[in-house]
């Protein structure tokens, strides 16, 4: 990834996919016994299903943002003086 000398944050809308796996924290959606799969209560196999979902989301973000760094964010609010090195 080429590196721009004066950029702060880089943002790609693909990054929003990283929020999807967090949906598995909403326990009322899956805290139930039925339907069962191979004898496993819904509670368990639903959460197992999130493993591939998580991999897919992170994988997509990796592939889609690999070659095209999007530069839209604003740089850190730093003055030139703040960048001085040497002071403790």
């Amino acid at each position: 990834m080429p590196s721009d000398p004066k950029t702060g944050l880089r943002w790609s809308n693909w990054n929003l996919l990283l929020i999807v796996p967090l949906l598995m924290l909403i326990t009322p959606w899956f805290n139930m016994d039925e339907p069962r799969l191979f004898g496993l209560p819904f509670f368990y196999w639903y959460q197992f299903a999130f493993v591939p979902i998580g991999v897919l989301c992170v994988g997509l973000v990796y592939v889609k943002t690999k070659d095209q760094p999007v530069v839209t964010g604003k740089p850190d609010k730093l003055g030139v003086d703040d960048l001085d090195e040497g002071a403790n």
């Binding site: 990834m1 590196s3 721009d4 000398p5 004066k6 950029t7 702060g8 944050l9 880089r10 990054n15 996919l17 990283l18 929020i19 999807v20 796996p21 967090l22 598995m24 924290l25 909403i26 326990t27 009322p28 805290n31 139930m32 016994d33 069962r36 191979f38 004898g39 496993l40 209560p41 509670f43 368990y44 959460q47 197992f48 999130f50 493993v51 998580g54 991999v55 989301c57 992170v58 994988g59 973000v61 990796y62 690999k66 760094p69 740089p75 850190d76 609010k77 730093l78 703040d82 960048l83 001085d84 090195e85 002071a87 403790n88």
Partner: protein, 544 residues
């Protein structure tokens, strides 16, 4: 004494011992007398090595023993380990590559190095370093609990100090090859550990459920067991009061994991940003294994497994559930393989944790306060000695103090390390927080978190303090006012403490900015956070 198991275990243990010593010459750098080499393996690990190393580091023997034990004892709540390790990677995906880049440009070895560079405050760096060391120590001790659980299952269950002798021998060997080879030793051994773990879990998860009548029957017997207990909090599903605890425990644990210095060690040792990103995609393979393993807690219920009584403490130790399940239901040679998988699984993280703690000591205490102009060779020497001290400290903890104390401390450690989130993780993105805001937030979050943990008791096991991390919302009071009334809904203490930490940090930051208090000097440049391995700005490895 179970001789077959013991022999298989010893052979595999011997194999990794040899590997540990040979590792010093594996992918050898110019010198081992530099923290980049001893403490970070030359900063050049590729995707595969990183996958095995970080996997071997995060999914520890204690995890493999404690998670099924929690399922066995408490039911569905123990399954939080799965959501924890699924949401972990999406959360840390972006911050970790920033951490890698800025560390690579400036030669940072520890998270506290970064904090010092970002805020120019060695005091803030010091509290981050001490938090890291204190939180890691009981974690190392817990690896010993995992190792000892298998040793005792193999019949090495002596009483008194002598009962700890096998553990002591195993740790002396570990200490010696870590001293010699540094991070390369656990990196190489992690290959053996992870392959053994995968084989054992896959066999266990295919063979054991069918042996005990299939999953339907297993969940049936587990349900029956929990119905029979007086406690209303257990069961094969979550209850009304522990759902919030389940979600916040998973979230808090995920936020905390890469704040632990040993997790970051594995990341900083990797070659480049893409190595880290690929690993964030591939590491959930271990989560799948962990989830399957958790279910073995219910299989143990079906199999009628009984925890063995620890001769040293005289109490039944639920951490022996999985070793006992394997020992009674596998042919003895395979049980030996399974024990070796757990035993070696303790060595890898214990080595990495001791290296990470040693790095913190050397970089942020020794070099900062004791010997300011230490040469790289002196730093490496100091770190090697510190790793020995850390490991023998952990052994002493297990031998001379009740192991329960380590478990309590690890619980506290998770809450503690979470309090470094604003200074380490948020600082990767912004310097909005004032250095005094971060210090004040740390003090508030730490103090409040410790106090909350102190107030949590569990009459069922006869403990009045530090009996868990589940806090009833009704217990939260602000100067006598209970915002949640008498609610019994539980929440993870770490999240509450982090909230208080952030609140105080924001308030103090606003005041400090109003008063125009000097906010330290930032040595990093915004572009530092995007530098990759091929960039000329990366600092040469092992140079000063």
């Amino acid at each position: 004494m179970q001789w077959t198991e013991l022999i298989v275990f010893s052979v595999l243990f011997l194999l990794v011992t040899v590997m540990g010593f040979v590792a010093a010459r594996w992918q050898q750098g110019a010198t081992l007398d530099h923290l980049d080499e001893w403490g970070l393996g030359g900063r050049k690990f590729g995707s595969w090595i990183t996958w095995f190393l970080v996997g071997g580091d995060l999914y520890t023997a204690y995890t493999f023993v404690a998670v099924p034990a929690l399922m066995f004892g408490a039911g569905a709540l123990g399954f939080y380990a799965l959501p924890y390790t699924v949401i972990l990677y999406p959360i840390v995906f972006l911050p970790l590559v920033r951490m890698w880049s800025v560390s690579r440009v400036h030669g940072y070895v520890t998270p506290a190095d970064f904090v010092k560079g970002r805020y120019g405050s060695h005091w803030l760096a010091l509290i981050i370093a001490i938090t890291g060391i204190v939180a890691t120590m009981p974690y190392i001790a817990l690896q010993l609990v995992g190792l000892e659980a298998v040793l005792r299952s193999m019949g090495l269950n002596g009483s008194g100090i002598l009962g700890h002798l096998p553990l002591f021998i195993a740790f002396v060997i570990l200490a010696l090859y870590t001293y010699q080879s540094g991070l390369r030793a656990p990196a190489l051994i992690a290959f053996v550990k992870d392959i053994l773990i995968y084989v054992v879990i896959l066999v266990a998860i295919i063979y054991l459920p069918s042996k005990f009548g299939g999953w339907s029957h297993i969940f049936g017997t587990a349900q029956a067991k929990f119905d029979a207990t007086p406690s209303k909090a257990d069961g094969i599903l979550l209850t009304g009061t522990n759902q919030l605890q389940y979600a916040t425990l998973a979230l808090g644990s995920a936020l905390a994991l890469f704040l632990y210095p040993h997790s970051l060690t594995g990341i900083l040792a990797s070659r480049g940003r893409n190595v880290i990103k690929r690993n964030m995609v591939a590491l959930p393979a271990y989560s799948l294994v962990l989830g399957l393993l958790a279910l073995l807690g219910f299989v143990a219920v079906s199999a009628g497994t009984k925890p063995i009584v620890n001769q040293a403490t005289g109490r039944p130790d639920t951490n022996t559930i999985v070793p006992e399940l394997f020992g009674h239901n596998f042919p003895s040679w395979f049980a030996g393989v399974a024990f070796a998988a757990i035993g070696i699984g303790a060595l890898v993280p214990a080595a990495i944790m001791s290296i990470a703690a040693a790095n913190l000591w050397t970089r942020n205490v020794y070099k900062e306060y004791i010997k300011k102009h230490a040469t790289p060779a002196e730093e490496a020497k100091q770190a090697k000695l510190a790793s020995l001290v850390v490991k023998f400290g952990a052994v002493a903890f297990i031998v001379f103090v009740d192991p329960q104390f380590s478990i309590d401390l690890q619980l506290i450690g998770g809450v503690m390390i979470l309090q470094t989130l604003p200074a380490v993780a948020i600082a990767l993105y912004t310097r909005w927080f004032h250095v005094w805001g971060l210090v004040a937030g740390w003090v508030a979050g730490m103090g409040y978190g410790m106090w909350l943990l102190y107030t949590i008791g569990n009459p069922a096991v006869g403990k009045q303090h530090f009996a868990g991390s589940a806090l009833p919302l009704g217990n939260i009071s602000i100067l006598g006012w209970h915002p949640f009334g008498g609610s019994t809904t539980q929440i993870y203490v770490g999240i509450v403490a982090l909230f208080v930490n952030l609140l105080v940090a924001v308030i103090v930051t606003l005041i400090a900015k109003r008063a125009r208090v000097f906010n330290g000097t930032d040595q990093t440049d915004p572009s530092d956070y995007h530098v990759d391995e091929d960039n000329p700005r990366v600092k040469p490895v092992a140079a000063h």
